[in-house]
Amino acid sequence: MGDPLDLFAATAPEGAYTVLQVSRRARQLVETGFTGALWVRGEVTGFKRYQSGHWYFTLRDRFAQLRCIMWAKENRRLPAEPTEGLEVFVLARPTVWEERGEFRLTVVELLTTAAGGLWQLKLEKAKAALAKDGLLDPGRKRRLPAYPERVGVVTSADGAAWRDVVALAARRWPLAELCLVATRVQGEGAEDDVCRALGVLARLHGVRRLDVAIVGRGGGSKEDLWTFNSERVARAVAAVPVPVVSAVGHETDVTLCDLVADVRAPTPSAAVESATPDRAEVQAHLAHLSQRLARDLRARAERAVERLERTADGLAVVMLRRLERGGSRLAAHGARLDALSPLRVLARGYAVARDSDGRVLRRVAQLAPGLPFNLRVTDGEVPARVMEP
C-alpha cells in the first residue's frame, strides 16, 4: 500500500479502507518521516513491566506525552527500572502500534540525565541495602594473613587476570598454593556464576583450609564490570569465610564487591601483592632474625666469660691479699731473724773461733797453745793459731 490514499475511493462503501490498512499506512508514514532513531528527553511516568519482560511507560514534559515501549531484549542490559518522575534520555524509533492505532516510541536505549544514570541508581540502592545489614562496616574488615599457604581465586579461567595472578604469585610467594574456582565474569548469567563460584570457595575451605581469597577480573568497560556491582555478588563476597581481596580491574570505579571485601586492590596483580609477602623480603627478615639469634648467643657467651673473669679476678684479689699479708709477715719474721743473726753480731766487731771440725771454741780450756783454728769475722774467715807461751 505504497500509494497515497485516494480520498474519493474511501467514499464508496465497497472501496472503504480497513482499519488495519489505515493504521499500517500511518505507521509507514511515521517511520519514514522520522528517518531512524532519535534522542528524546522527558520524564518517566506510568512505568509498567509486563510478565514478558517488556517495559511500558509514558515520557512526558510540561506540554505533551508519548507512549513508549522498551522490549525485554533491550531493557535487559539496564541495571534498574526507571522510577516515577525520573528524567531520562531515550534513544527511540517513533512508530505506530497498528493494533491500537497508537503513536509511540520504541526505546532502544535509556539513560538518566543524572551522572551515572540508572547504574548509579541501582548501585546506591544496593549500597544502602548492604549498609543496612552492616556489610559495609569498617569493623567487619578482616586482616589478611601475613604468610598464606593456600589462596582461593575466583575469576575467569581464560582471562588475563588469572594469568597475571599465577605469574606474580609464582615469583613473589611460591609457598602458596593457588586454587582457581573458575567462573564467568561478564555477560548473561555471570552474576549467578560468580555467586556459585564463591559458594564453591566456601566449601573448599571446609575441605582444605584457605588463608585468603582473591575475587575479581581484569579491566573492562563499565558494563563488563557490572557483575561485581551486583548486590547478590557483594553479599556472596561478604559471606566468604576467609579474608577476601577484591580485584575488579579498574583504577577509578569502586564496585560493591570492593566495598564489602576486606581489602580492595585495583587490579588482580595488586591483589596478589596485598595477599602475599615478597619472598625476598621474608628472606631478608629471616637473615635479620638469624643475626639477632647469633647476637644473642654472642652476648650470652660474653656474659659467661665476663662472669668467669669476674670470678677469676675475685680469686686473684683474695690470693694477692693473702700473699701480701703473708709477705708482710714474712718480712717481719725476716727482720727478727735478721736481728738474731750471728752475722749481725759479727758485724758489730765480734768474731767466732771454730776448730777444724767447725766446733765453736768458747773456753780457754779449748784453746790449747799451738792449736790451729779459724776465726770468723764479719766479711770472712781467717786461719789462726794459739801462741806458744
Binding site: V166, E177, V200, R279, D296
Partner: protein, 74 residues
C-alpha cells in the same frame, strides 16, 4: 600438604618467640642453648622452604553430587 608440618607463619612466630625469650628472659644456660638450637633449626627450615618452594596451581571443581575436587595445573 603434610599436616604434621607447622605452617610457615607458625614456624616464623615460634622463631620470633624464641628470640623474644632469649633476649628478654633470664634463662639458665641450658635452657638458652636449647632455645638457641631450636631457633637455628627453625631458621634453617624456614629458609629451605623459601628457597625450594615451587608454585602450585589447582583447579577447583565440583561434581554433580556437590563434592569438591582439586585438579593439578592451571
Amino acid at each position: 600438604m603434610n599436616a604434621e608440618r607447622p605452617s610457615f607463619a607458625g614456624e616464623l612466630a615460634r622463631l620470633e618467640e624464641i628470640l623474644r625469650r632469649l633476649e628478654a628472659e633470664d634463662l639458665d644456660l641450658d635452657e638458652a642453648l636449647r632455645l638457641f638450637e631450636e631457633g637455628v633449626e627453625r631458621l634453617r627450615s624456614a629458609r629451605e622452604r623459601l628457597t625450594t618452594a615451587e608454585a602450585k596451581v589447582k583447579r577447583v571443581l565440583q561434581d554433580h553430587a556437590g563434592k569438591i575436587k582439586l585438579e593439578d595445573g592451571d
